[in-house]
């Protein structure tokens, strides 16, 4: 099982780094360069800020490596640090006006309705060669309300499990499921009509 090998390998690297072989930190974090940056970018929507957050998160991870206990995966721990870094930077910049009242929102039974359509022609990944396509997807993810965007990025872009996502965000598994559902449906609602229009001149029924 590669995953177990990987975490054993990481544990060994971490022990070596803590014992003074600091340079091995470069190798330890290489697999996570991308996910940390994307996590940061999904918060700040600005490449420069995202890069600064990513650097800061990796530096904090190095400085606090001794406190990593190995209960979580190293990658999950790193993502938590990034999340905290991104949130505190946003707070400093006062870009977050008010966090929505979340706890009561999860179970209020309110429905998010998807975009209705009668047929869907699969859009192949090759379509992503077009910058128009990439930018549509980026904007849609960035346009999600923060509590849904966090969930979506962790679960569907960073591919954390539901339990890991709950750990990182310190919310219940049930809340992860509810928010993830809303995030996905909201994206479908925004993107399906736009993508369908780009993809074909197929029939489209905009009732809802």
């Amino acid at each position: 099982m590669p995953e177990i090998d990987e975490s054993r390998n990481e544990a060994e690297m971490i022990a070596a780094i803590l014992a003074g072989e600091s340079q091995r930190f470069h190798d330890l974090i290489r697999p996570y360069e991308r996910s940390v940056y994307v996590m940061a970018l999904s918060f700040v929507h600005d490449e420069f800020d995202a890069e600064e957050i990513a650097q800061e998160a990796f530096l904090k991870a190095f400085r606090n490596l001794a406190s990593f206990r190995g209960e979580a995966k190293f990658g999950t721990w790193l993502i938590s640090i990034t999340l905290n870094e991104a949130r505190s930077r946003l707070r400093r910049k006062k870009l977050i006006k008010m966090e929505p009242l979340e706890a009561s929102n999860d179970d209020d039974g309110s429905h998010v309705s998807p975009a209705l359509l009668r047929d869907w022609k699969e859009i192949p990944s090759e379509a992503l060669e077009r910058s128009e396509m990439r930018s549509l997807l980026q904007k849609a993810v960035e346009g999600l309300p923060p509590i849904y965007r966090e969930i979506f990025v962790l679960r569907d872009i960073e591919e954390l499990s539901i339990a890991e996502t709950a750990d990182v965000l310190q919310i219940t598994v049930a809340s992860v499921k509810v928010r993830l559902h809303r995030a996905r449906v909201a994206l479908q609602k925004t993107l399906a009509p736009q993508l369908k229009q780009i993809n074909s001149k197929g029939r489209w029924f905009p009732w809802s």
């Binding site: 930190f25 190095f62 009668r118 379509a127 449906v185 399906a192 993508l195």
Partner: protein
């Protein structure tokens, strides 16, 4: 048991993650077999998730990795200097 479209929509995410209870899963599947709207919603959602997860959507800035490792290197070297100084 027959369920309405809007009840099926509540289970889209769970269906994609494979976390539905067997009984709910069966109802959703039966509904999907004859409802082209719900099938298209499911297909489009699945397709959109695959597209947004693609690495090309969020690209790394040019030189990001080099700058990161250069910055880390400063930190690592100063940490090593501290270790060396310690008795």
């Amino acid at each position: 048991m027959v369920i309405e479209c809007k009840h099926v929509w509540e289970h889209i995410s769970g269906y994609l993650d494979g976390t539905l209870e067997p009984e709910v899963l069966r109802m959703v599947q039966e509904h999907l077999e004859h409802c082209e709207i719900c099938s298209a919603i499911l297909d489009s959602t699945r397709n959109i998730l695959i597209l947004t997860a693609d690495e090309r959507v969020f690209e790394l800035p040019l030189g990001y990795s080099d700058r990161l490792h250069a910055r880390l290197d400063e930190e690592l070297k100063s940490a090593e200097a501290v270790v060396r100084k310690a008795p």
